[in-house]
Amino acid sequence: MEKFVQLTARACPLLLANLNTDQILPARYLKWPRSKGLGSVLFQDLGVDSDGKERKDFPLNQPLWQDARILLAGRNFGGGSSREAAVYALYDHGFRCVIAPSFGDIFAQNAVKNGLLTATVSEADVADMAAMVSANAQLPITVDLERKTIVCGNMTYVFEIDPVSRNQLLNGWDDVDLTESYKEQIAQFSADYRSRRPWVVPAKS
């Protein structure tokens, strides 16, 4: 997995609350294999109007935010369905960090497995940052995971992330490799666990 230590990039403001994974990636694209790339259908139904025409007022459609790698989002970003493809769509589009007041639990878990940082800040702080980048789209934002800080203009904000996710992102840990190192403990634990609870194994039907 790609590590995340520090990133300086442009940030796209999209402060809508409750942007659930159905909005991030509509279900009809879940059939797509990862190799096809999901960046082109990120926020597909939000970015077009009812006639299928691209909405000019949708931030991601504007040329100045095409290369944004940070997304400034509203409360409860990524709630709903567990589809990891929502993270793939953000990642494939180029995003490496989402800054928001809160995240859906499963989304946040999926994000860290793919090297996408979810940085939690207050509603006021993300609104501040959105106002600054809306006034000047060229303004870069620097996210530092080691220090848990975001520098935007002449302001420095502190963000929250749980220590487990932070560790994994900073080290680029691969879960499967890590788990392998506990192989013996797993075998011993499960043998003991099942011998004391014979009912946990499915009975023959």
Partner: protein, 470 residues
């Protein structure tokens, strides 16, 4: 004397293999359910040249993409057909038991797992689907995971997790007639908010919860994720044990007695504490419908749609305007004046036999004013409903009686609500475009969907139940 523990504490401890300094723990997984959407995870596993660690604890179910009509014919859409056959190939290759498209036990994973006795109290259950919280109804620690975690479980039968915080939601008293588990769930979500339980394992407690059947408890735990909860659970009791006795994969004989002993010890200790407690009065809950685009946009059926002009918070006012615009509802409208275009009865939330009985009790001898689809939660539920004559009631009311699958809840098998159409639905998400691009969804109980069907608009089911056996 040990520190008093809650249900989630006990479940967590019994599955914890190791704990890292940063707090992450490696947990042993008892059951892993996979479906068509799990193909990303199988691909990840194959890329690493690995195999499934515990095929006997892994079960496949075809539900998300399966057709609900014309199963005697080949699936017309080649992309959908490929999703179903990919699951079949992955299951065969990995020696996983599959409840596939033509299996008599096929259905929605969150209906089939409990129905087959695979879901048991005390187990740690995962599936690449957010509504895995459903299985918590049995006192299991059950939660949805993403593809990378599915791949990890396939390869290791374990999972790294951070321990969720503990939240107790008590619903005291008794619910009135015509008020069911779905109304209780929506009342809770309206109270705590769509993200109110984020980071928490919810334990549902109180008299109104104890009084629920297993079907009702599954509906409630299913909707925990719509309150943002990591999982939801109910302490196992006699209702749970009676449901499980004799199920195909449930323990038998002495093992069952031994299991009951272990399951009976799972209840939270009397003096255990929670990080958060919320209490509701069941007698104050009326039948509820949603009007907007998140499940916490929920109000009692005798209410009115909010008016953004009267909202003092500008962010909230903008949200209300956008939601009402998408839903094409004028501010301040009486909920019972909202006309509908179709109904859907189904999904992992409300498609079990009791749900179908509740809808049929309203529909019997009446005719639906709009078209609609009824998709039972499993092929087993379908057969039972047909034995009880419920299919005839639905058909005579003018609704379509179909096969089992996720169907019109997520719309990826081709069963969609057309753009601009308004659907009264027993499903779990009223998100924009959830039932199809441009679809407008109102969530409610099966009885309330039936009431909306025979009225042609959102309606209070209670007067329609008068003089009827429910």
């Amino acid at each position: 004397m040990n520190e008093p523990r809650t249900l989630i504490d006990k479940l967590w401890l019994s599955h914890e293999i190791v704990r890292r300094d940063d707090g992450a723990a490696l947990l042993l997984v008892d059951r892993h359910y996979v479906h068509e959407g799990s193909f990303h995870a199988f691909s990840q596993m194959k890329e690493r040249r690995r195999t499934v660690a515990e095929p006997a604890l892994t079960f496949g179910v075809a539900d998300h993409y399966v057709p609900t009509r014309g199963r005697d014919k080949d699936i017309a859409n080649p992309e959908i057909a490929a999703m179903v056959s990919k699951l079949e190939a992955n299951a065969a290759e990995s020696h996983i038991t599959l409840f596939g498209l033509h299996d008599p036990r096929q259905g929605i994973v969150h209906v089939v797992g409990p129905e087959q006795g695979l879901t048991l109290p005390g187990l740690l259950i995962v599936c690449g689907d957010s509504h895995t919280s459903t299985h918590g109804a049995f006192g299991a620690y059950a939660f949805g995971i993403g593809a990378s975690e599915v791949a990890h479980v396939l390869m290791t039968q374990t999972l790294w997790q951070k321990k969720p915080k503990r939240m107790r939601i008590a619903v005291e008293g008794a619910a009135a007639s015509g008020v069911g588990a779905k109304d209780i769930a929506l009342a809770i979500i309206a109270k705590v908010g769509a993200d109110g339980a984020q980071g928490h394992a919810i334990e549902f407690a109180g008299g109104a919860i104890r009084a629920l059947s297993m079907e009702g408890r599954m509906t409630l735990c299913n909707m925990s994720i719509e309150a943002g909860g990591r999982c939801g659970m109910v302490t196992p009791d006699e209702t749970t044990f009676a449901y499980l006795r004799g199920r195909a994969y449930a323990p038998k004989g002495e093992a069952f007695d031994q299991a009951i002993e272990a399951w009976s010890a799972l209840a939270s200790d009397p003096d255990a504490t929670f990080d958060r407690e919320v209490t509701l009065d069941a007698s104050a809950i009326a039948p509820i419908v949603t009007w907007g685009t998140t499940p916490d946009d929920a109000l009692p059926i005798d209410g009115y749609v909010p008016d953004p002009a009267r909202e003092t918070n500008p962010v909230r006012a903008k949200y209300l305007r956008d939601a009402l615009d998408y839903m094409a509802i004028v501010p301040g409208k009486k909920l019972t004046e909202i006309a509908i275009d179709r109904v859907f009865i189904g999904s992992c939330t409300n498609s079990r036999i009791e749900d179908l009985r509740a809808a049929a009790a309203v529909l019997a001898g009446r005719v639906s004013k709009v078209p609609g689809l009824v998709s039972p939660g499993s092929s087993t539920v379908k057969r039972q409903a047909e034995e009880e004559g419920l299919d005839r009631i639905f058909r005579e009311a003018g609704l379509e009686w179909a096969d089992s699958g996720c169907s019109m809840c997520v719309g990826i098998n081709g069963d969609v609500v057309q753009s601009g159409e308004r659907c009264a639905s027993t499903t779990n998400r009223n998100f924009r475009g959830r039932q199809g691009p441009g679809a407008r969804t109102h969530l409610m109980s099966p009885a309330m969907v039936a009431a909306a069907a025979v009225s042609g608009h959102l309606a209070d089911v209670r007067p329609l139940l008068s003089g009827r056996k429910v």
